[in-house]
Symmetry: C2
């Protein structure tokens, strides 16, 4: 019997479940969590929802998001826990040990790096989002969807595909979303909220960042810089810093984008972005880390010293690639 | 016989067609033009493609885009011309009279404001893009699509929906795109090119636009302004203007976004964006037009006079809505 069949059987046979998704919740983890929870409720199951991190403001409009608990998991020796969108158990943070105490663990995920930590594992790295897998499961369980489940799945899938712009987007993704939209969703209003809207302070900070834009190495490196002082003067919060660095990468011809954020006279935070280079390696050389196309580090020193050091490493990386 | 049936019949019966779409070509007009052209070619028709404006760089990767002519339409008394994505005949610019001299005009469009200027009119304002209508027509004509037609239609539909984020996006849109992706498209690579990447000059122009940002009516109207002089000084092309206006709408709390583009001392082009209001009505009051959430107009006069007039209409519209 395949793990998938065992999972279906378990979801049919047991009466109550804990469901949890990863720390630093994103649209896929929250959307999948809410959809799975409400779907099982519609099958008459008792469910409790958890995440180790607080839900970002932009996802709080999702129905039932207020029911997601951040504590009180307790001992789960008598219960089966469904873990969603988490490539390994460490991503459950402080819930790790409690989850490991569960009677059974159902691990449902789409990350290619998933560690198969569950009693049963349903890992499909072809799926654009965990939400796509949850959709299939609910269909197989013959759950009749409703607007709120459809909305949660829409958020899960649209956020993990960058509104259907990332390479993971497939024909199936579009087919699933087409059927979700039949439940009366308004993709325009949801997308505006989760993708496009930013506070005024973000745009004021963006203006400052663009004013600092410099190009290096025959226009292949774009550098922007901001300081804590400029941020405060712009009326911007530290949240507003998120996303600014992406503007470096989106310039035609740029191979490497860098944002220097001068936190104090002796500390600078640096973000790296690329469309084609492994910036996690560059960040690593500077005692930082991250993903292949988005990474960062934090260095001690004044801005000019730090900048010189980072630019030397950046130039070296580009040169190594070209020889 | 419905106009739609007449159009199908004409496309079957005649041997050659001119196909044209509107000035200031966008993804929908170019994608629809190329897909319609190649589709009819696959039916054995002779076709010639025209647009009154040059094709923006980011769409030049589309196969056959180099075949689109910008002159040489000549006298079309013996030929049927297919006009795509053009709400009125003025949108054909210098081609207007030549097109009007055609034996017959087939007008295919999705703009709610379409003037039905054709001998036969197929106007479906429920369609997210003219590309969606062209897809249906090609299916009805039993044209077997290929990767290049599918890619053109994908670009048409994805650009006119802002990568499936605008309110015009429907379940049908997703179903159509799902079937287009079956032809082997790579939505990730195409999207990076048409949505995320912008030339450096765009960002320099954006900085200028953000520097001009003003809020009105209790922060519900955002206004930005640029001039031809500022654009030239920024090293930006007129292409770079596209997309700037959207930044007004993306500010949290803004109901109406306006971009004034001062073309000369006596002419101002105005773009309107909203998340919730019918800006095509506002544009209409100022002799312009467009879509419900994205519209524009062009007014004679110096900047201050034009701005005063537009702001008065804008305030009036907001006031009317609130009473």
């Amino acid at each position: 019997m395949s793990d998938r069949a065992k999972i279906i059987e378990t979801l049919h046979n047991e009466d109550s479940f804990y469901i949890i998704s990863h720390m630093l919740p994103d649209g896929d983890s929250i959307g999948s969590l809410l959809a799975m929870g409400e779907g099982l409720q519609r099958m008459g199951k008792e469910i409790r929802l958890f995440t180790p991190g607080k839900i970002p403001y932009k996802y709080k409009f999702l129905q039932n998001s207020e029911l997601v608990a951040h504590q009180g998991f307790g001992n789960a020796a008598d219960i089966t826990t469904i873990v969603l969108d988490s490539s390994d158990i460490e991503r459950l943070g402080e819930f790790k040990d409690a989850v490991l105490s569960s009677k059974k663990i159902i691990n449902i995920d789409h990350h290619v790096t998933n560690q198969r930590f569950g009693t049963m594992n349903l890992v499909d790295s072809e799926a654009a989002a965990t939400g796509e897998i949850v959709y299939d499961l609910l269909k197989e369980l013959q759950v009749v969807l409703n607007e709120s489940i459809a909305e949660s799945l829409y958020v899960a899938i649209s956020t993990d595909t960058g509104s259907f712009k990332y390479e993971n987007t497939t024909a199936k993704t579009f087919r699933v979303v087409a059927s979700l939209l039949e439940y009366g969703l308004n993709p325009g209003a949801i997308s505006q909220r989760i993708f496009d809207e930013r506070p005024l302070s973000f745009y004021i900070l963006l203006k400052e960042a663009l004013s600092s834009l410099e190009l290096y190495e025959g226009r292949s490196i774009a550098v922007m810089s901001l300081s804590n002082d400029i941020r405060i003067r712009s009326g911007a919060s530290t949240d507003d810093l998120e996303g600014i660095v992406n503007y470096t990468r989106n310039i035609v011809g740029i191979e490497l984008g860098i944002l220097f954020y001068v936190e104090s006279v002796s500390e600078v935070k640096i973000g790296f972005r690329s469309k084609s280079l492994d910036v996690s390696e560059l960040a690593g050389r500077l005692n930082g880390g991250g993903h292949i196309r988005a990474a960062g580090c934090r260095l001690q020193g004044d801005f000019q010293t730090v900048k010189a050091r980072v630019m030397a490493e950046a130039r070296k990386m580009l040169k190594d690639l070209k020889t």
